[in-house]
């Protein structure tokens, strides 16, 4: 058991992290320094059953009872799945007259321009469930048409008679003036108290009606389901003797109370992947790394996140349930504070084909677990990424998933030979092509994401987790010019471990336009003060005693532009606002992103945000390892090295047999039950005292891979 490097002050506390995923429910228990984890199959009908099952397993192994647990932190894909599978409650939207179809008309464009048979995703609520009221607020917040209580009463009675369970209220410009939405809530409370209510001015007080309305509808749609699930869960856990508080992981990478989660369930969307990012952030802290790229690759998708100064990068809007090849615009926008991740359809099961240009394409179509890649021998007849990995020697057919699935290399070779046939490639070259294409897809996604954020990846360290990531991570590093790669232990349950490291936090934000030429310091102090109070209230709901830190951020742009960039303020700059300082900060960040400032333009602030958070868990410094000898080699096998374009005789090393400080020199494969780490000829590895495999560039082969390839073309 390795020192898991958690908060020094919490050595004796007992904490449980639970991540409900699509296939598995991951459970991690930490008792002081010790960590126990298990994976149980997710029980869709009653997800709490799997949690209780997993909890009892780990408690048993730790020799404790549930009553001993001090804190439970839970993240779940249930909210996301309910949106994707459209399993929400009977929900109505109340909106401004004249704007009934905002969530259906979307951006009025086609996300794929060359597909004549394109289908747009259906809105969450069909048109007959969207109702309107005569009222209007202007962009300035001024009331143009006063909302009449009598009109609301008539509508509410109608909704009650129709038997709706949940009501979303989204009125135009309510982010700047929420009074009319409040009035609707009052009337609902009075005449239809059993309805659950969500207001857009509370769920997502941001400008742009399509995103805001869609977000409030999503919240309302999953609220009854999530509220009932969370209630049942609390009950079941209490029956098992649990006496501690239960917290929920939210999409922004922090935790909130069960009660707040039930009120704003849309904030739980993508909480699992957020846990993964927090996991990586924690490892970054342990190693003192300020620039980290987390890389999580599973069976169907890969997720990439930038982690700066040990905090995952966040965003104010993202898209869930993409319906068309993960294409931007094909899902539904949700505008809430969220950890900013790129997700692409690249995983072990992603399938390949040859297109009209005779190019190999990979994903996003996936073989799933049934039939799975061809090498599973369950009837898969198209080449998947895992097939290529097997033919290239990256996987051992007799030792996949701890030996539970015997892989059939001949099946992989057959489907790869068919893939390569039109290209006159043998199965090995086709496997190389397939693997290069999927790695390039992921590298491109990472590259674009970095550039959009004005970052240069060559200064970054990659942290890889998830079943398929260690097979591809080193090649990605070669492609991205990343010199250092960490593969932590416990990577298989990384998200659940991440939950245990997450602070209590809540980000409150609001759209209010202010030009620097009309800078109003008092107004700013007041606004930021309000946001500070609001965000603090949520954190106090989790932890009434802890210190609370506040992070201030404003979104700025040149007046007339449409896209803002986030500018971080110190507490001092937020509490004593000064236009020159704001202007300087903006121009510095703008120049970093786009090369040069634009002279003579006014600057404006559009969104204000305050994130309240408990201090990050203090990290025990990593015990230095003594430079050891070479790790014991269990054998050799041929592995294709993509950078060299040829097979290499790679050493096979069992991860369990490596002592801290010992090294492995590439080309090598490091095997363990859940995954395999590929070490190309360009890299060397050393086991750290916390169980991480630390992979770095070998000096003698420091030429860039493709340069070698390219030189001979």
């Amino acid at each position: 058991m390795f020192n898991v490097g958690k908060a020094v002050n919490q050595d004796t506390s007992i904490r449980l992290g639970v991540d409900i995923g699509g296939t598995f429910t991951d459970v991690v228990l930490e008792v002081g320094e010790k960590q126990f984890s298990t994976k149980v199959l997710t029980t869709y009908a009653a997800p709490e059953d799997a949690i209780v099952d997993g909890m009892l397993q780990v408690c048993d192994r730790a020799g404790i009872v549930p009553a001993n647990i001090d804190r439970i932190i839970h993240g779940t894909t249930l909210a996301t799945n309910a949106l994707i599978e459209r399993r929400g409650a009977k929900t109505a939207l109340i909106t401004t007259q004249g704007f009934r179809d905002v969530i259906e008309m979307r951006t009025e464009s086609r996300f794929e321009q060359y597909d004549l048979n394109l289908q747009l995703p259906e809105p969450l609520l069909p048109r007959q469930c969207r109702y309107t009221l005569e009222e209007r607020i202007a962009a300035s917040g001024e009331v143009l048409i006063e909302l009449q209580r009598a009109d609301v009463e008539v509508l509410v009675d109608r909704l009650k008679a129709a038997g709706y369970q949940s009501i979303a209220v989204g009125l135009l410009h309510s982010y700047i003036n929420g009074n009319h939405e409040q009035l609707v809530r009052e009337v609902l409370a009075e005449r239809f108290p059993t309805a659950m209510v969500s207001l857009s001015s509370e769920v997502s007080p941001q400008m742009r009606e399509y995103e805001r309305f869609n977000t409030v509808v999503a919240n309302a749609y999953i609220k009854p389901l999530m509220k009932s699930y969370l209630g049942r869960l609390a009950g079941r856990l209490a029956e098992e003797g649990v006496g501690c508080k239960i917290f929920l992981m939210h999409s922004g990478g922090g935790i909130i109370s069960l009660e707040d989660a039930a009120e704003f369930p849309v904030r739980l969307v993508e909480s699992g992947p957020a846990g993964g990012a927090v996991f990586a952030a924690h490892i970054a802290a342990r190693y003192g790394l300020d620039k980290v790229l987390s890389f999580d690759m599973g069976g169907t998708t890969a997720k990439i996140c930038l982690i700066k100064n040990q905090s995952p990068k966040t965003s104010r809007v993202f898209e869930v349930a993409r319906s068309y090849r993960f294409k931007k615009g094909s899902g539904m926008p949700i505008s809430i504070p969220v950890i900013d991740m790129v997700e692409i359809g690249a995983g072990g099961g992603s399938l390949a084909h040859v297109d009209a240009m005779r190019q190999i394409r990979v994903g996003p179509e996936s073989a799933g677990s049934e039939p799975g890649p061809a090498c599973y021998g369950r009837g898969g007849d198209r080449a998947a990424v895992t097939d290529a990995d097997l033919v290239l020697g990256k996987l051992d057919p007799d030792n996949f998933a701890g030996g539970t699935i015997k892989l059939q290399a001949d099946q992989s070779a057959d489907v790869l030979a068919s893939l390569g046939e039109p290209l006159e490639m043998d199965s090995l070259t086709a496997a190389y092509g397939l693997s290069e294409v999927v790695d390039e897809n992921m590298a491109n996604a990472a590259r674009v994401h970095a550039v959009e954020n004005g970052e240069d990846l060559s200064e970054y360290t990659m942290i890889a987790f998830g079943g398929a990531a260690p097979l591809h991570a080193a090649r990605l590093c070669e492609k991205l010019g990343v010199d250092r790669l960490l593969v932590p232990s416990g990577a298989g349950v990384g998200s659940a471990i991440g939950f245990l490291r997450a602070p209590s936090s809540f980000e409150a934000n609001r759209s209010v336009y202010m030009r620097l030429s009309a800078f109003d310091a008092d107004h700013i102090r007041h606004l930021l003060g309000e946001l500070e109070t609001e965000s603090t209230r949520f954190v106090l709901g989790c932890d009434a005693t802890s210190d609370i830190e506040h992070e201030f951020k404003v979104y700025m742009r040149y007046t007339g532009q449409g896209w803002e960039i986030p500018v971080v303020l110190s507490a001092e700059q937020a509490r004593n606002p000064d236009p020159q300082t704001y202007s300087d900060l903006f121009e510095r960040d703008y120049t970093a992103l786009f090369g040069r400032p634009v002279d003579g333009m006014d600057i404006e602030i559009t969104v204000w945000s305050v994130n309240a958070t408990t201090p990050a868990a203090q990290v025990s410094p990593l015990a230095p390892v003594i430079e050891g000898d070479s790790a014991p080699v269990a054998g050799h096998r041929p592995v294709f090295d993509a950078a060299l374009g040829q097979q290499q005789n790679a050493a096979v090393v069992l991860r369990d047999n490596i002592e801290p400080g010992q090294t492995v020199i590439g080309p090598a494969v490091i095997t363990e039950d859940e995954t395999t780490i590929i070490l190309p000829a360009s890299r060397a590895a050393q086991l750290q005292s916390d169980g991480c495999i630390d992979i770095t560039l070998q000096e003698q082969t420091a030429t860039t891979d493709s340069a070698q390839l390219g030189a001979s073309t």
Binding site: R110, L116, G433, G562
Partner: protein, 569 residues
């Protein structure tokens, strides 16, 4: 290295190049000032070899720039002169004939040098909201009235920006900050593309774009020719009559599918119009080519080789091949109708492939707001130009309904109403789907939309209309019915024209109903379950359900009852 391994490497580089131009386009969206670029995405971006052949084009952007962009760089090379191209140069034009079809599109081209050697160009185009002259609209009698004309010239000479040019630009347009900001945004997006390209050349140890360029063009050409060779060698004609400015316009095309090319000949189309709805041939080519690519080779990326086999010809000074100095500001109004015209012919060669006619032309309008003049205006009243992009319904497809309020063939987005109302003292009172506007059919046409536009208290405005299909709604295919026509009036009932700049007095609003797409197949063959669904959602009224689709009264009352009960199916 084995040949097949080199192919892998080349493929990786091709993917990278597409990612580079995509990033170039994204930077433009994020730094531009005109709403047409930053919200609507009316732009394009691409990379070229030293001969001006386009190697890759960003997916982000609109088809109207497809070929126009492909041809533009050749004009720049010719005008600037090969010996006059230096590192850190930036070139600019808004020439409708050598750029992308009207003065409102600014094209910026930047040469790329690597290790002191000229290796290619980056180019990008964006639609700006104002370029001076009469303002964006159809009213000019010649291109001279349509605004400032910037011939192909250097915007920056070895990195030094031409201040004289900037002063001239500033002095000739209504929103100088916005336009100059956009020019800088165009230049910097090329700069970002250039940086990424250098990284790629370095990483793959290439000294220029020759090897990868040849690979891209060879593969694209071969793939496109394979698709064309698989088509029947046939000829067919298509035509469409549309509103025009003051008299109807006929678009006519003859498609000729040959072994290695498809020729679209627009002979027989109407001559020039007196007003600014004429189309330079580059723009006609873009949309004819786009229509054919969608139907024949949708997944082959745009580049010089994949576009070359589509040949488009039209008689000089016909409406689809307007020569200088014809007015062309609203060339999109006619240009957006080109795909449906081409499909009228293609349907006769490739049945059950192309959709019925749709709204076609984007339903754009520009509002020029000003302090009221009928009495004293409040002190805070301002002048402002607000351009919005909106869409009618698209045509029903052979196996699916048309898309409601969704642009086709254009690729632009609408702007959020909340964002529009922040750009000027305009109020959008209504923006929602238009019931019963989708042409009936086995597959129903997409719905158009209603809009209602007014000004903030204290303002009046000129409304520049750019609509078609007032008198010529979208026509159904295979027995499908026509979509609903465009209507426009003021809220007091006074009539307005579909095109042209018109005054709207203080307190008045403009009421608009945008056209629906046409139906495909006979309405009586429509699945009754879909008729019920359409009725429950209010896409169609009870009358249409009964009279057009033959839904029995009992079913109609059942559906209406379910709606009252909040049932969603």
């Amino acid at each position: 290295m084995k040949q097949s391994q080199q192919a892998v490497l080349h493929q990786v580089m091709w993917n990278r190049l597409i990612s580079v131009v995509e990033e170039q386009a994204q930077v433009l969206v994020r730094t531009a000032f005109s709403t047409s670029v930053r919200e609507a995405g009316d732009l394009s971006a691409g990379v070229y070899d030293t001969a001006g052949q386009m190697l890759a084009q960003a997916v982000t952007g609109t088809p109207g720039h497809v070929n126009a962009m492909a041809d533009a760089v050749g004009h720049f090379i010719r005008r600037i002169g090969v010996d006059n191209i230096f590192e850190d140069d930036v070139y600019i034009t808004n020439d409708p004939w050598e750029g992308t079809g009207h003065l409102h599109d600014i094209t910026v081209v930047s040469p790329t040098f690597y290790q002191g050697k000229h290796v290619g160009f980056f180019a990008c185009t964006a639609h700006v909201v104002d370029i001076g002259g009469r303002g964006f609209g159809a009213d000019a009698n010649s291109v001279y009235e349509e605004g400032l004309y910037i011939p192909i010239m250097k915007f920056a000479d070895k990195g030094i920006v031409d201040k004289t040019l900037l002063s001239l630009v500033r002095g000739n347009v209504r929103e100088p900050d916005q336009l100059v900001g956009d020019i800088y945004a165009l230049a910097s997006c090329n700069e970002i593309g250039h940086r990424r390209l250098l990284e790629m050349l370095q990483e793959f140890a290439q000294t220029d774009l020759d090897t990868i360029g040849t690979f891209i063009l060879d593969n694209s050409r071969r793939a496109t020719l394979e698709r064309i060779a698989a088509l029947p060698r046939k000829q067919a004609s298509g035509e469409m009559r549309i509103d025009g400015y003051s008299k109807p316009i006929d678009l006519k095309v003859k498609l000729d599918i040959q072994e290695d090319r498809i020729v679209c000949d627009f002979d027989g189309s109407s001559g020039l119009d007196k007003k600014g709805i004429n189309v330079p041939l580059v723009y006609t080519k873009a949309y004819a080519c786009y229509a054919l690519k969608c139907a024949i080779a949708p997944e082959i990326p745009n580049n010089a080789a994949s576009l070359a086999p589509f040949e488009v010809v039209a008689p000089d000074n016909s409406i689809v091949n307007a020569l200088h100095p014809a007015p062309v500001a609203l060339r999109h109004v006619i240009g957006h109708m080109v795909p449906d015209t081409v499909y009228d012919a293609l349907d006769k060669i490739l049945p059950a492939t192309v959709p019925a006619e749709g709204a076609g032309t984007l339903c754009n309008f520009q509002v020029s707001l000003q302090p009221r003049t009928d009495q004293k205006a409040p002190a805070n009243a301002v002048r402002s130009e607000v351009l919005t992009f909106n869409s009618g319904g698209s045509g029903a497809r052979p196996a699916a309904d048309g898309l409601s309020a969704t642009a086709f063939p254009s690729g632009v987005m609408t702007m959020p109403v909340e964002a529009t109302e922040h750009t000027g003292p305009v109020i959008i009172w209504r923006k929602e789907l238009r019931s019963d506007s989708g042409g009936a059919g086995k597959q129903r046409g997409g719905l158009g939309q209603y809009m209602e536009v007014g000004a903030v208290e204290g303002h009046e405005f000129y409304f520049s209309a750019m609509f078609d299909r007032v008198d010529h709604p979208a026509r159904g295919r295979q027995g499908g019915e026509n979509g609903a026509a465009t209507t426009i009036s003021q809220d007091d009932g006074s009539v307005m024209q579909g095109k042209g700049k018109q005054f709207v007095a203080h307190g008045r609003r403009v009421k608009l109903a945008f056209p629906g797409g046409a139906g495909y197949g006979e309405a009586r063959d429509r699945d009754p379950a879909l008729v019920c669904r359409d009725l429950s959602r209010g896409y169609i009224s009870a009358e249409v359900a009964r009279d057009t689709y033959g839904l029995p009264e009992s079913e109609i009352s059942r559906v209406m009852k379910a709606v009252e009960n909040g049932e969603s199916h």
